[in-house]
């Protein structure tokens, strides 16, 4: 046989799962991101006493597709004085980084592209942090003041909060004792408890830092629309802009997946080791079936016949998914499918909850100012994260060397870190009080550089 052909065949034989998964990620994530946007708009509308998108498809269900088509055919504007090469490249970098890092994430025990990479979690974090180059270079290449200010803010913000996020992750990794994603989840199964209960402070720090890393409100300063118009993407339009947008939402999925893997038990169902809670296994199927039933109920109330059909279609899809989730439970020969399918369900559910939290915060909170953001990162989160890492380390030594009860040891770390947090906040208040009592006259610019760090 031709050696080249042979090599190709061997390659395909060895790697076909990974290749297919990779293609699926690249193909599906943009669609998912589009629908996350729709969900976000719908939720925002619901919280703001209005309806949100209603025109395209029943209840606006086809809105993301309409948006995508519009963005694709929109004129692609490149400013005259822009640095063309960098301007072209920047959004692609953002998007690529987010999608690549998704390769190492395990969406359930069965769905992972880079299976045996030894540094799984580090890979995800490291590669997703490369997305910053897209933002910085895009902001620089646009040759606009707003863009470059957005880019500068973004750099400072990411560098600061990545530190806090990394330290928070270390607390969790100490507990897991490995960087492999699968092993991290296994460790939680072995412990019989999600790490969020053992290291709640670390989880909290990671939540805050991950909001900041994904540039979401209340930390969306790089693109703060009321100050910097759109920050680094001011000059972008059409599909390039859409790439940034997709990158941002893909990043949300990534940070959600990291938090889920490390702190929320990955694809484990709640109470994974408690035998009498096994009825929870039926929940995924019941849940999707209930969604389907609701769609059937709503189908009759649609004003237009097309919409009724559409609702029936959605209901049907839900029932099919429910069936897929239920059949392996009931039919013995298919039992081997259960962990994979249900794992994926729980994993996606947890990510969704995490992203929902992001959205909820966005609709509720005002935006931080840049110096306040830096202050929060450097004066509170980072010291807190350092103390937390130390405390968790000490607790683990207490447990392993001195045979302390694990819960007692971990409770101690939490108490210690919370006390530190209180102390830091007090310190912070004092500083703020001192600053306001000194009341610097507005003409006198303070010498504190808000980009410090």
């Amino acid at each position: 046989m031709n050696p080249t052909l042979h090599a190709v065949l061997v390659f395909l034989e060895t790697w076909w799962v990974e290749l297919v998964s990779g293609v699926v990620i690249v193909a599906v994530v943009p669609l998912v991101a589009g629908y996350i946007v729709l969900v976000e708009r719908k939720l925002m509308a619901d919280m703001q006493a209005r309806l949100g998108p209603m025109r395209v498809g029943p209840h606006g269900l086809l809105q993301p597709i309409a948006d995508a088509v519009k963005l694709l055919i929109k004129e692609d504007i490149i400013p005259d004085n822009a640095d063309k090469m960098v301007f072209w490249m920047a959004p692609v970098v953002s998007m690529t980084a987010a999608l690549t890092s998704m390769g190492a994430i395990a969406f359930g025990p069965a769905f992972q592209v880079a299976r045996d990479i030894n540094v799984g979690l580090l890979f995800v974090i490291g590669v997703s942090s490369l997305g910053i180059f897209g933002i910085v270079l895009g902001g620089w290449a646009s040759n606009s003041h707003y863009s470059i200010m957005g880019a500068l803010r973004s750099t400072a913000q990411l560098v600061s909060y990545e530190t806090a996020a990394g330290l928070a992750l270390i607390s969790g990794l100490l507990l897991a004792g490995t960087l492999k994603i699968r092993a991290i989840v296994d460790a939680q199964q072995h412990f019989g408890v999600w790490f969020v209960f053992l290291a709640p402070v670390a989880f909290f720090i990671y939540v805050v830092a991950s909001i900041a890393e994904t540039n979401r409100a209340p930390f969306d300063l790089p693109e703060a629309e009321s100050e910097l118009v759109a920050g680094y993407m001011t000059e972008y339009s059409g599909f390039r802009w859409a790439l940034y947008f997709l990158g941002e939402y893909a990043n949300m999925i990534v940070v959600g997946a990291v938090a889920t893997t490390l702190f929320l038990g990955g694809w484990l169902r709640p109470f994974p080791n408690v035998r009498w809670m096994n009825w929870l296994d039926a929940l995924p199927a019941l849940f999707t079936a209930a969604v389907g039933a609701y769609c059937v109920y709503r189908a009759g109330k649609q004003p237009v016949r097309v919409q009724t059909w559409f609702m029936w279609g959605v209901a049907l899809a839900c029932f099919v998914v429910a069936l897929i989730l239920a059949v392996p439970l009931l039919v013995a020969p298919l039992k081997f499918l259960v962990p994979g399918l249900h794992g994926a369900f729980w994993f996606l559910l947890k990510i969704s909850a995490y992203i929902y939290l992001f959205m909820w915060l966005r609709f509720t909170l005002p935006r931080y100012r840049f110096d306040q953001l830096m202050h929060l990162g450097w004066y509170i989160l980072i010291p807190l994260a350092i103390v937390n890492v130390l405390a968790v380390g000490v607790a683990m030594i207490l447990e392993m060397e001195y045979g302390w009860n694990r819960w007692l040891a971990m409770l101690l770390t939490t108490v210690i870190t919370l006390a530190t947090a209180l102390f830091l906040l007090r310190l912070n208040d004092k500083r703020a009080a001192a600053a306001s009592s000194a009341a610097p006259p507005p003409e006198e610019p303070s010498t504190e550089d808000s980009y410090a760090g």
Binding site: A7, L122, F133, I148, L179
Partner: protein
């Protein structure tokens, strides 16, 4: 076969972008090519199954140091640099140093041609399963055999960091 293709791809990218990095006039472009070089090198590390080095390269050099590089470059006015002389004129010295370096590398490669497990130019890759997981191996080494040097190094870094903070505070 595939290994070779991947290796030559990464190596080619690394060398090409290194050359471009040196010759670009625009500092941001240089930075972009430096990033590409570093990423390509990281790719070679990954191919060698040195996963930890790979990710350390990406997180520290690309994600950390290069971000700060770009950050600083953006704060500096580029048009000033455009009018300055790009290369220093000591071409002969540079040539001499390059030749010396090339000779050293050549001698090293030539002398290792007979060492088992390494070829003249293309080292034979070790099969995947044979290597111990190198993150754990590295950690074991660092915190076991080389604990003291490791700690000394970290104290040094800490001192440098504190020093930088003190200097920055003094200036303002």
């Amino acid at each position: 076969m595939l290994d070779k293709v991947i290796f030559f791809f990464f190596a080619g990218v690394a060398i090409l972008s290194a050359g471009l990095m040196v010759t670009r006039r625009n500092a941001i472009h240089s930075a972009v090519f430096l990033i590409t070089t570093l990423l390509a090198t990281a790719g070679i590390f990954l191919q060698l199954r040195a996963e930890f080095i790979f990710i350390a390269q990406i997180i520290l050099y690309v994600g950390g140091i290069m971000v700060l590089f770009v950050f600083v470059i953006m704060l500096v006015r580029l048009d000033v640099a455009l009018h300055q002389i790009q290369f220093s004129r000591q071409k002969w010295v540079a040539l001499l140093v390059t030749l010396a370096l090339a000779a050293e590398v050549g001698v090293m490669l030539w002398s290792s041609r007979n060492v088992p497990g390494q070829g003249f130019l293309l080292p034979n890759a070790v099969p995947a399963g044979k290597l111990p997981p190198n993150t754990e191996a590295l950690a074991g080494r660092l915190f076991d055999a080389y604990l003291l040097p490791f700690e000394i190094a970290s104290v040094l870094l800490l001192v440098a960091m504190v020093g930088a903070v003190v200097m920055a505070k003094k200036r303002t």
